[in-house]
Symmetry: C4
Subunit: 282 residues, 4 copies
């Protein structure tokens, strides 16, 4: 009986922690979100500055301290999330579960590898910490609207992606035929020419590869104009797609699934659309 | 009695000045707007030309005269605006009140600092005068339609902004890993690589940082194509947002609030939506 | 009586010529349009090739012949248009009347100036012939849909234009402050910095002016991302504008006004919307 | 009687092969599609890598083997398509029939030409194999939605294309007049200046041609801003076009016409809209 009481109380504690770290409706939950966002931002900034030679030389001990501070914070957050999930394994194997783990793991591994292992592995691990930025998506509200827009237009965006690629392959081959034999050309191979075509069609235009012949200028001009006229089509398709879905954008709750932590459920949802568990805490 | 008469007349003068400098419905008000716009344009042009070495050497005395002419004009305008506002403090602390003050203040301060102070301060003050261009927003009709469009899509634009940033951080890190160790690379640090990623995704493409390895070319190509496909989504979201709000765009008056000078009130508005004061002159 | 007959016949001839050169509904009118479009294209191409040194040296006599052939053709066309217009002066002073005149005049003037006049005047006259390309707008069907779209969104495009300009002026000034004192900088003056800001915000990105300092990179990144997010707004505004006007796009006739030659009249129009004359031949 | 039976069985075999290689509704048909897409991708990749000098030197024998493997595969596919079409000639003369033939023919021709013919012909034939990528359009579902969007907006896109071209011709001529006489200019001829104008207006901005004079910078700035404001119009037009057609996008079947192999028929179509033959297998 007493044990049952304790279990109940523990559950309430679990539930309270859950509300703070997974949801954002209570003041504590909002504060947690904001603090975490700042921590993510600062920790990513620290990893970035580590690669700037002059900064690293000057503040190397401060960077080390900051690194361990954030690693311990993110480890604590990860363990808390594991503990208060009803199905920890499901959270651990979800996208954000993996991201949360990757946010703290690399620092520990580099500790064990220090000195013994090669430079390449350490370098990957160091850079992996940059992926902490993905934790942000967890906490930025409305991100799922963008995601839904992209997912809904997925099929058409894919087709468009391939259409551009096919166009670029053909245009690149033609450019390679025209410019490939000119002395001092930058069109040294078809992949290079396709790179040029894509950089041109998408209006990026670095200018590291440029045409030299008159025919090349003419073909480039036609290619750019065609790409420019074509850009309107995918934009229009996505707008149409988004407009059609406008009415379907019902109210989403900020509640997360207690089992796997998935966000973006509809207000009237009873079961998680990702793992099928009940959304309410019993 | 006589004093009361005088007060009334003064009030009518105040009101008439108000109508001329804050509103644009009377012929005098329209003329004032046009003249002021020309003055702003010419004064900004003068500050710009001051920084062109060859021009400054040739016309330094003319530029000095022009500078003082516009400073006195803008000072007079600022004092008039203060005088005819019903709540001068509110105008003075509003966005345009500060901009109007900043339009004339720097010239006076440089006068007192001449010779005594360092170059850096004078330089900031000189350049601050460029912000006069913001006075224009005051007088360009329809600017609030763009502003409303932006404000209404604020949340989604912010999410999009962060989504691009996150994408650029990840892509930049990957590019740094690929290109960072190549000899003579421009990818000297992660911030530099993120700069490259943003310049590429947004299709700016300066070409000051370019890839050298084959893998780098491949990843850049994928990155650009993804960015290109993604550009359609925010465009579509804003269009949807604007279309939804189409019916709400009721008629706006060109009248300004007599207390704080805020523009863009609805035709049937009785109270200012910024400071809550009555909009009519009693 | 006989004279009256003759006048009537002349009028019918005039009308028939009118139908051929101003309208495009008869087979002869369509043929005339196509031939003229080819002539314009070829004549513009000839002027273009004249500026290519290697081509000019090789084919200078051929280019001279081609030039005179097209000049005489366009002169004949201009005279015919003048002759068959009911109010020749109105046609002559209309936009396309001036363009048509400018298409043949420069060649005659260079003939008289040959040898006597300076190089600069001849050069302007030579290049003026490139404006023949504007004659095309006369004959490209559907051009008025684009024009109407632009005209209808005129006010909002203007505001957007100024908003971008104001943003660029502020951003350029800030960049000048950051980069202006660095050695070997390209930010030599504020106009140069504003050029950089506009080239960046509009995603053109030539790369002739690039930042050197870390702070400059950071500010540029923010500036580009803001510009990129903002691009969606004018696009959305124009789409909304075009959609609203969709129903109003009634059928336009291909008939031109017999007095001034204006195109794009509605099917039920009785009077020219430009000059107010009756549209039918009496 | 037995022969009739055999014919019937043969027909069923033909029909079964047809279902596999032309349609994608049966599991076998889907598998065939996926395998073919992989083969196309790999074969195009092989041709691309052949032009990379270091790769070609290392793996020249492997590339030769791969080339013949894919050529034989595509030949078999082409012959099967010919065999199971009810009207082989119609398939052979259709767009995809020609593409399918071009996918295998060049390899055979180079075999016969080896040693005897000049380099130029062999080079064209080698590069022609890149057009295999067009076979992909055959198999990418939804490609016809993009195509229909483009076709439906065809007239307006053409007008827009010409409008941009006319604008670029005028702007390029003006730039040539301004920059053409400066020493060390890149604006060596009008075609070069038009290339600059198009690269600028479409926001590509390679940076290989850049202005040197102050006036040139000013005109470029105006040109870019105008182009930037104008981009919204075609986008809006296409969106409007696509939205109008939204309701017409009825369900399309994945069935292909048994005579000519055309795709994208409506669910209730009885006759092919391309060749007029019945769509069902009798």
């Amino acid at each position: 009986m007493a044990e049952d009481e304790q279990t109940k109380q523990a559950k309430t504690l679990k539930q309270r922690v859950w509300e703070i770290i997974f949801e954002a409706e209570t003041p504590a939950g909002k504060l947690f979100d904001i603090v975490l966002l700042c921590f993510i931002g600062m920790s990513v900034l620290a990893v970035m500055l580590e690669t700037v030679a002059e900064f690293k030389d000057k503040y190397s001990s401060e960077l080390l301290f900051v690194e361990w501070f954030f690693t311990i914070m993110f480890s604590a957050e990860y363990l808390l999330r594991l503990w208060c999930s009803r199905k920890p394994l499901r959270y651990a194997t979800s996208f954000f579960g993996v991201v949360d783990l990757l946010s703290c793991l690399p620092t520990y591994i580099t500790l064990f590898l220090a000195g013994t292992s090669g430079f390449a592995v350490v370098r990957v691990l160091r850079l992996l910490r940059m992926f902490r930025v993905l934790k942000m998506a967890h906490h930025v509200r409305g991100a799922h609207v963008i995601m839904q827009g992209l997912v809904r237009s997925r099929a058409k965006i894919t087709v468009f992606f391939f259409a551009i690629l096919m166009f670029a392959v053909i245009a690149g081959t033609v450019m390679y035929y025209i410019e490939g034999n000119v002395e001092g050309t930058s069109f040294t191979s078809i992949p290079m020419s396709i790179y040029y075509a894509i950089v041109s069609i998408t209006t990026v235009g670095y200018g590291d590869v440029v045409v030299q012949t008159n025919l090349g200028i003419f073909v480039t001009t036609i290619m750019i104009l065609t790409g420019y006229a074509v850009i309107a089509v995918p934009t229009g398709i996505v707008t149409t797609e988004l407009m059609r879905g406008k009415d379907n954008e019902s109210d989403h709750t900020t509640d997360a699934c207690p089992s796997c932590g998935a966000h973006g459920h509809l207000a009237d949802a009873v079961y998680c659309r990702r793992c099928g568990d009940r959304l309410d805490h019993d």
